[in-house]
């Protein structure tokens, strides 16, 4: 029985290795990241360790953002739809989209939750005070800068546009760029879900 399982696993990995891109080679562990030290919408501290079944896409953004953030969340939603087409909700629900606000003064937990629901992702909004958010961003190498541009929208932010792809053990495995093809991002997520 053990041998049979081993054989099946080997065959599976051969299939993974044999066709298409070298996903393992594209998903090497990056020397950034770690626990965020930010709270979820219900007030509890988010811990990757509590999400051993999930793969995460983490984004540092804000809801008053007119273009980059809706684009990123639309892309996360497209990845979710692609996973659903491939493996149903069992697969799609294991991608957790984390939106860590860089604008805590305006982004309440409820507003973040509404924002994520609107885009149709399985998501969690993450909040903290300014220092906590800065510390989390620093750990990931994410940068943002408040810009007083004289806009009627108030403060706007220059900020990092990539998403951090995080495996089931909480390790950053890929910076997902804003022009990475959706199908490939879905391949990465599926690979990390399968990997364990």
């Amino acid at each position: 029985m053990t041998r049979l399982l081993y054989g099946a696993a080997l065959a599976g990995s051969l299939v993974l290795a044999g066709c298409g891109p070298d996903l393992a080679g594209e998903l090497t562990e990056l020397p950034i990241g770690g626990e965020l030290g930010l709270a979820t919408t219900d007030g509890s501290t988010f811990r990757f360790a509590d999400h051993r079944e999930d793969v995460e896409l983490l984004y540092f953004g804000y809801t008053t953002c007119p273009d980059a953030c809706p684009t990123a969340l639309s892309r996360a939603a497209a990845v979710t739809r692609t996973l659903r087409e491939r493996g149903g909700p069992e697969l799609a629900d294991r991608l957790l989209v984390l939106l860590a606000t860089i604008d805590p003064a305006r982004d309440s937990p409820d507003k973040l939750a509404e924002y994520l629901t609107f885009f149709g992702v399985n998501g969690l909004g993450l909040v903290g005070d300014e220092e906590e958010i800065a510390a989390a961003a620093r750990r990931y190498g994410a940068t943002y800068e408040r810009v007083e541009s004289g806009s009627a929208a108030g403060a706007l932010f220059d900020h990092t546009t990539h998403m951090y792809l995080i495996d089931r053990r909480g390790r950053v495995r890929r910076l997902v760029r804003s022009d990475d093809p959706i199908e490939r991002v879905a391949d990465w997520v599926a690979y990390l879900i399968e990997e364990g």
Binding site: P66, D67, A68, S74, S151, D158
Partner: protein
């Protein structure tokens, strides 16, 4: 003006962005110096650029449509930022966008409210 659309945002959102392409068949460049919309208190021109994974956005006093050319306001580039939405937007409705030109003329267009850029629906 063509392919005008406005991004659908959650009901509580105070801002969204409008996108479109402006063609200029004339021999002289045309300068756009302002904008407005029937769904927002204010509209501004914003120009974005992405470099090394960092998105920067600045309010622009004006943008130019080159002579015998076109200017595209598209995600990741420039947009009309609609600020202070008067009511929640709904999918498939249209809203009115107006561009103010330096010569005092105005251009008006009906923009579809969409979740995604045209051509990317469902993706």
């Amino acid at each position: 003006m063509e392919e005008a659309w406005v991004r659908l945002v959650p009901p509580s959102a105070a801002v969204t962005a409008g996108f479109l392409r402006v063609r200029n068949a004339g021999d002289r460049p045309v300068e756009i110096v302002g904008a407005s919309s029937d769904v927002a208190k204010t509209a501004e021109l914003h120009v974005m650029s992405e470099e090394n994974g960092m998105m920067t956005m600045r309010r622009a006093a004006s943008v130019e449509v080159p002579a015998r050319g076109s200017l595209e306001l598209a995600p990741g580039g420039a947009h009309l930022m609609l600020i202070g939405l008067e009511r929640p937007l709904s999918p498939d409705e249209t809203v009115r966008l107006r561009l103010d030109l330096a010569n005092g003329e105005h251009l008006e267009v009906e923009a579809a409210v969409r979740r995604e850029p045209p051509g990317e629906a469902g993706r």
